[in-house]
């Protein structure tokens, strides 16, 4: 997509763009309703597709009243396994852990409630919606296997994106036996659903064997490859536009079955098709965070030093695919202990396949580990913050690697000071407010690995002194349109106003996935390197040009700033980009950059971001009603590109923490296997 119109920036900037608290460059579009999300597109001749989904969790579809649906005025076609266009790849094929099996009407099997079983295509949304209801499916149902005890467990081959299911360091049993204090505690976390405000949507248009699709994607290149494989067409025949995602949280990382069904529907009717999930249809085929039951066994000596940590998780995946919530990862990094073991088991259930959901493993794992730490501190009679500091990991406990950076101690200190933690009584139930509510203060630790994917970017400097940077970056709300443009401006040594920044489209260089808290790092490094490539070429032109003030500056070198190259050793000598290019008779200079994790650095260091969150909670003693009344967070997450955007991310993350602890849980009916609260009134998310 082309440059976006932007709001006037009220801040005055001095020097570089990186680090400035700029307002969002996509703000003007978003507050005026002009930001175009996938479902806002309406190509000529577009038809509306609506899913019909299964009301049973396991069995077969034995009948669909296709005739009744087709007889409804405005209905063009009903897509079922009988007439679904052919695919080049079995949707159940799985070539790598990131290739999720999809339900694309390959047969009459039902493997979870809410699974698509037909697609109605009609001239209007109203006709398609009503006709989908007229299909009145009949089933041959089998008992649904629901809940963490709903099936026999097994040890998964890997957890998360490929971590080992078992890690053992030292002798946990010996550590527990030698401990002065021991606790064993079981924590259950429920199934949770991403519930981005924007339902998954696609507007798909075929032109012979070329596809263009407007659909939200956290990973444009992955989506393009996946569609290419399924349809047997070259990736370059597929154009995906995703300038704005209405939230993702992991659910738009891999392309989902319903999005591909929209593409198939367009194929079937030979016209553009829009397919948008209804809210209740987002509780099946587009992933969720699996439920867990975590058993924590901790041992500590008389002085409060941990002697052993055993973190066991029982989790669930679908009957037909693998994704195992990697809860144990946090126990590998958070606390020093001579013995650490993490183990996993899983059951197969008749639900949709779980997937990555905001901090997969870290969110669910840390709520258990940190609760156990709290219980141990209480068992010892130690302040829980002091207990954490007593067991502070100076190096990564299992690997022994130093941390590339770790300012968790400072996070604890600043957070505690701001929260007035020192006023906290040691014993529980000691504080009441003026209304008689019980007041509790707690602390929790945040940790997340610093991940890099592979990414590329392209940068151009033009003779008029403007620049262009482009890459297929994705903005799901974290602020890529702003933060990456700031990096791009600095990379080219330009004022942000002179930069054209393009992103959000699959025909641009692959910027890697917007997930794993990696996108700013990955895309940002690629952008920086593309800018450096341009500047190196430009400097070469200037330094070899006798007419340039920079002639012969090779040894001293130059720096790029404000649209000029400047001698490092004498800042009074400089040359403008426009003049350098004009004298050389060059219209523009192009540069390329790429990014990837550095294996040498990854071998040498453990890389994580850290934080500490302090909470005040009030509880009505008679009714048990809970109010979270105060939250303080302190975070250390490396170079901050834009403090305004990052503050919003921290607030959002803390609010998701409140939500995890107090609000959201999917309730599954053990008889039908259906999610009973598949809507935003009964699946509780935080409100203002």
């Amino acid at each position: 997509m082309a440059e976006i119109p932007q709001a006037s920036v009220s801040q005055h900037r001095h020097g570089g763009s990186i680090g400035q608290p700029l307002t969002r460059r996509d703000g003007l579009l978003k507050v005026t309703g002009q930001a175009r999300y996938a479902a806002d597109n309406h190509p000529p001749g577009m038809q509306h597709a609506v899913l019909a989904v299964s009301s049973i969790a396991r069995g077969r579809v034995t009948f669909l009243d296709v005739a009744a649906a087709k007889a409804h005025p405005g209905v063009i076609e009903v897509m079922t396994p009988a007439n679904r266009p052919p695919l080049a790849l079995d949707p159940d094929a799985k070539m790598d852990p990131f290739m999720f099996r999809l339900d694309l009407l390959q047969n009459d099997r039902v493997r979870y409630a809410g699974q698509p079983i037909a697609v109605v295509i009609a001239e209007t949304l109203e006709a398609a919606t009503e006709a989908a209801a007229l299909l009145s499916p009949r089933y041959e149902a089998e008992p649904a296997r629901i809940g963490l005890d709903g099936n026999d467990s097994f040890i998964p081959p890997v957890v998360g994106p490929g971590y080992p299911p078992e890690v053992r360091h030292g002798d946990v049993e010996a550590g527990l036996a030698a401990a002065e204090h021991r606790i064993e505690a079981i924590y259950e976390t429920p199934a949770q659903y991403h519930n981005a405000m924007e339902p998954h949507a696609i507007v798909a248009t075929w032109d012979d064997d070329r596809l263009s699709a407007d659909t939200p994607s956290q990973g444009l290149a992955w989506a393009q490859q996946r569609i290419a494989g399924l349809f047997g067409i070259p990736p370059e025949n597929i154009l995906i536009r995703s300038p704005f995602l209405g939230g993702g949280f992991g659910s738009k990382g891999m392309i989902s079955g319903p999005q591909v069904l929209g593409i198939l529907a367009a194929r079937l009717v030979g016209r553009p098709v829009k397919l948008v999930l209804r809210r209740e249809q987002m509780y099946g085929p587009v992933g969720h965070r699996a439920p867990t039951r975590q058993t924590l066994r901790l041992g500590a000596d008389r002085q409060g030093a941990l002697t052993a940590i055993h973190h066991h998780v029982r989790t669930a995946t679908s009957s037909f695919d693998d994704f195992f919530e990697p809860c144990g990862q946090v126990s590998h990094t958070l606390y020093a202990s001579p013995a650490i073991a993490t183990t996993a088991e899983a059951v197969r259930l008749d639900t949709g396949t779980p997937t990555f959901m905001r901090a997969p493993g870290e969110a669910s794992g840390s709520i258990a580990l940190e609760s156990a730490i709290e219980e141990m501190a209480q068992a010892i009679g130690m302040d829980p913050l002091e207990f954490r500091l007593r067991n502070y990991a100076e190096v990564e406990p299992i690997s022994g690697k130093p941390f590339s950076s770790k300012a968790l101690r400072e996070c604890y200190a600043q957070g505690a000071a701001s929260f007035r933690w020192q006023e906290r009584p040691l014993a529980p139930r000691q504080m009441r407010d003026e209304n008689g509510l019980l007041v509790g203060w707690g602390v929790g630790t945040a940790t997340f690995p610093a991940i890099m994917f592979q990414g590329q970017a392209r940068a151009v400097l033009r003779r008029d002194g403007t620049g262009l940077v482009e890459l297929g970056a994705q903005d799901m709300g974290q602020g890529a349109w702003t933060a990456l443009a700031q990096i791009a401006a600095d990379g080219l040594g330009l004022e942000l106003e002179r930069l054209e920044f393009r992103a959000g489209s699959s025909d641009l260089p692959d910027a890697g996935i917007a997930g794993g808290s990696s996108h700013t790092a990955t895309a940002g490094v690629a952008i920086h390197n593309a800018g450096a490539d341009v500047i190196a070429k430009l400097a070469e032109l200037a330094m070899s040009d006798q007419r340039s003030p920079l002639f012969g500056a090779n040894n001293a070198g130059v720096l790029a700033r404000g649209g000029r190259l400047i001698r490092r050793d004498d800042e009074s000598r400089s040359d403008s980009y426009a003049d350098i290019l004009a004298r050389a008779g060059v219209a523009e200079i192009e540069g390329r950059g790429s990014a990837a994790g550095d294996p040498a650095a990854q071998n040498a260091y453990a890389m994580h971001a850290h934080g500490a969150v302090f909470a005040e909670v009030k509880v009505e003693p008679e009714l048990g009603q809970i109010r979270a009344t105060r939250l303080v967070g302190a975070f250390a997450a490396g170079t901050i590109i834009n403090p305004r955007l990052v503050r919003s991310q921290y607030y959002g993350g803390m609010i998701w923490g409140v939500s995890f602890a107090l609000h959201e849980r999917a309730e599954l009916d053990p008889r039908s296997g259906r999610v009973m609260n598949a809507n935003l009134a009964e699946y509780h998310v935080p409100v203002n």
């Binding site: 479902a39 509306h48 949304l125 602020g479 919003s648």
Partner: protein, 165 residues
């Protein structure tokens, strides 16, 4: 079949031949009138993404049947700014970073405009939060939303005072 209704949308009076009595105001705006700024998040009045002003009152447009609104006045996010000049609520949403993904934003802004017109919230953040609690933001930008509503309310009441003087 065509049901003729007249709506004044963003100040423009329009006669609309409604092709289907089942059409909601939201789907009329989004699918028939190319006013896609108003968003559909749940289609059952639970998320507030589809909030518009109907005869000056904020409503969930997903729960309003278009056929029942003959003669009504509708204000959507597209009709809020005066040319290039943003409405104070829009400007405050940018200044206070009151959104991330932006999908709930049109509904939040229309709800805020309605809340300020209702004049019930005053300058109490708790009452602003309560008054905005029908508009979900999954990104959790609530702090910025509350600050933006309070600031917009202050600047609008200053305008009122100037106009009264």
């Amino acid at each position: 079949m065509s049901l003729p209704i007249t709506l004044t949308i963003n100040g423009v009076r329009r006669t609309i031949g409604l092709d289907d009595p089942r059409v909601t105001l939201l789907d009329l705006l989004r699918e028939r009138l190319d006013l896609t700024g108003t968003k559909k998040g749940c289609d059952r009045g639970q998320c507030g993404a589809c909030t518009v002003l109907l005869d000056g009152r904020r409503i969930n447009s997903c729960l309003a049947l278009a056929a029942s609104l003959d003669g009504a006045e509708v204000l959507t996010i597209e009709g809020l700014a005066r040319g290039d000049e943003l409405h104070p609520v829009q400007a405050a949403f940018i200044a206070h970073d009151a959104f991330q993904c932006g999908f709930c934003t049109p509904g939040q802004i229309m709800s805020a405009v309605g809340l300020i017109q209702e004049g019930e919230a005053g300058d109490d953040p708790e009452r602003v939060r309560e008054g905005m609690s029908g508009n979900l933001c999954r990104c959790g930008a609530y702090r910025g939303i509350t600050e933006a509503v309070l600031e917009a309310q202050r600047s609008l009441s200053q305008v009122d005072r100037k106009e009264a003087a």
